[in-house]
Amino acid sequence: MGSLALSGVFMALLGIALAGVIAFANRRLYVFEDPRIEQVEELLPKSNCGACGTAGCRNFAEKVVAGEIQPAQCTVNAPSQIVVIAELLGVDTGSVEKRVARLACAGARHVAYLRARYAGHDSCRAAHVVSGGGKACAWGCLGLADCANVCTFDAIHMDAHGLPVVDADKCSACNDCVEVCPKGLFSLEPVSRKLWVACKNLADGDTAEKSCEVACTACGKCVMDSGPGVMKLENNLAVVDYARNEKTDRKAIERCPTGAIVWFDNPNFSIKGAEAKRILRQNELPVISA
């Protein structure tokens, strides 16, 4: 027999032997997996955002099928898809209150003063490392769009004055913007929380107002106008106690002199009180030295 034929026979035998091993392994090492996991995963958005608290869409599907989590915990999914999943598994859809990312700052370029101009690497994180960025308010939004860049769902865009605006319909509450913001200005809030303090400045009132026209000056009017225990002043900042969220009232914002406290009538649109100063300026504020 020529070596050519021999090698052919050898390869054939080897192939048969290995096929046998595979066939054996396929039978003996078979693990049953619920086919519904695959089906549920097909119905999920597959963005792996982690907003539901699991490690990803596959993990979520496994947990839904196992009954550990309800289909509606996936806040990204369309309501119709959630119903399909619930019907497929014969479970309750469950209900989760929609949460959206909210920015605790209103200090856009036309209302907040600068103390220096930052000219480095174009990122909030990098600017924050350099002496906190150039803003006069050390707590305020730097406006370099790290949050808009990190958002998977295109739910954040920068407005004309360099402040991020959240599209509540697109926001899936995935937490990415909360993590990326070096000033920690974003938080995920249930849409039922309508009273909102859009400021994090801890300096005293005069200093705060010198650095930003829409800062909370801790004047305390909102605390007086809201129900008992609903709001309080803490470290020169008005704070809402959301444990008493159902007692919050639009009255609280009406006398706010700077408009730092707002009311979210619908999740996409906030309104300021009647006595808040009107900002007509469109231009950027200058660099101040004090």
Binding site: Y118, V129, V130, S131, G132, G133, A136, A138, A203
Partner: protein
Amino acid sequence: MKLLSYFRGEAFQRGVHPPGCKHTAEAPIRRLPFAPRLTVPLSQHIGKPSRPIVRVGEEVLRGQPIAEADGWLSVPQHAPATGVVEAIELRPSARGSWAESIVIRVYEASTQEVLWGAPQDIDAFPPQDIVLAVQRTGMVGLGGAAFPSHAKLTVPQGAKVETLVVNGCECEPYLTCDHRLMVERAADLMAGIRYAMRATGAGRAIVGVEDNKPEAAETLRRVLPPQGDIFVEKVPTKYPQGSEKMLITALFGVEVPSGKLPLSLGMVVNNVGTLAALGKLLPVGQGLIERVVTITGPGVARPGNYLVPLGTPLSFVLDYAGAQTQARQVILGGPMMGQAVASLDVPVTKGVSGVLVFRGEDMAGREGRKTYPCIKCGECVESCPMGLNPSMLGMLAARREYDLMGSQYHLGDCFECGCCTYTCPSNIPLVQQFRVAKQILREKAAA
């Protein structure tokens, strides 16, 4: 001299040669007067912030402790001038975030005399008492890192220190404060070295001085003690020679293993400024209330080396040194690793070695430069003293692959010297990205 055969006198690998710009090398150290208000931050060091022990309205004497150490990795603070505590509140800090600080309104009659102190016989102290005495001075690494000195001089159980390495390199351009200290306060430095040797149990001390400061090395050699256990060695001028790992490589030809401290080689590295201050403060039992700061740059009319009371606001410092009105950028520290400040209310703290002022025309063409894509020229790899691959790290940073940077590409070894950004022909902000990445990894590790 069998010992000296250790010394190779060769530079570490890679690094860069920025222009020296040491214009103030001949300027003797001069005192800065007291500012009307001094702001002493409670956190001027790495570790836990100090706890204030004075109340608002209380009168304090120059040198009096006003805050105590909160735990082991913390140091006390002392009043830099006689006056009255006006407030204990949040004030701007160089890091950007506001920090709890003690504001002292200085009495106009406050003199330079230090009114607080308890002379002590350090030579009779056992090593652990010297370490405690160091903590009482509030001393931190004056080279810029501001790590508490007593923690650095503490030798953990089982470890043994053979050599005290004294860092007199001052490799950053512009800065000359350590240079002047070596020339003008050689005796203090020798005393400080002796205390540090006793505290650590080191048998010898080696002062590494870059060869662009020959008169500093010669001054030190003239005051060497007769015991012959302190040596002065010249090392080649190269950035970042002043990094402790690079200095050890230049002096001994050995490399500090990745992720380890010089202690693993039986060495402790201290800055000349720190030891000179210890040599002066320990015998008289006083606290650290002032430090030498190089104030220079094209935007300053009277550049020089000033003895600045801690807590002096930058605006006062710049007025005194004659900063011109078109001054545009102010940097604390050296130009390579220093930090630009956003507010002139920021005070001079223990870790500030220099204040550099640049005008608009100095910055023209350097700000807002366009960043081009990486052309894989390898300049950054050639320059990285730690032997990392900044090009690869930069690409990963752009993709936010921070975990990969830490686990596969040794981001933790980067000490942010900035050589990669300095050499990059595409203007890629490499070290800036690494700073962000390291910060995020630290946050993740803490969470």
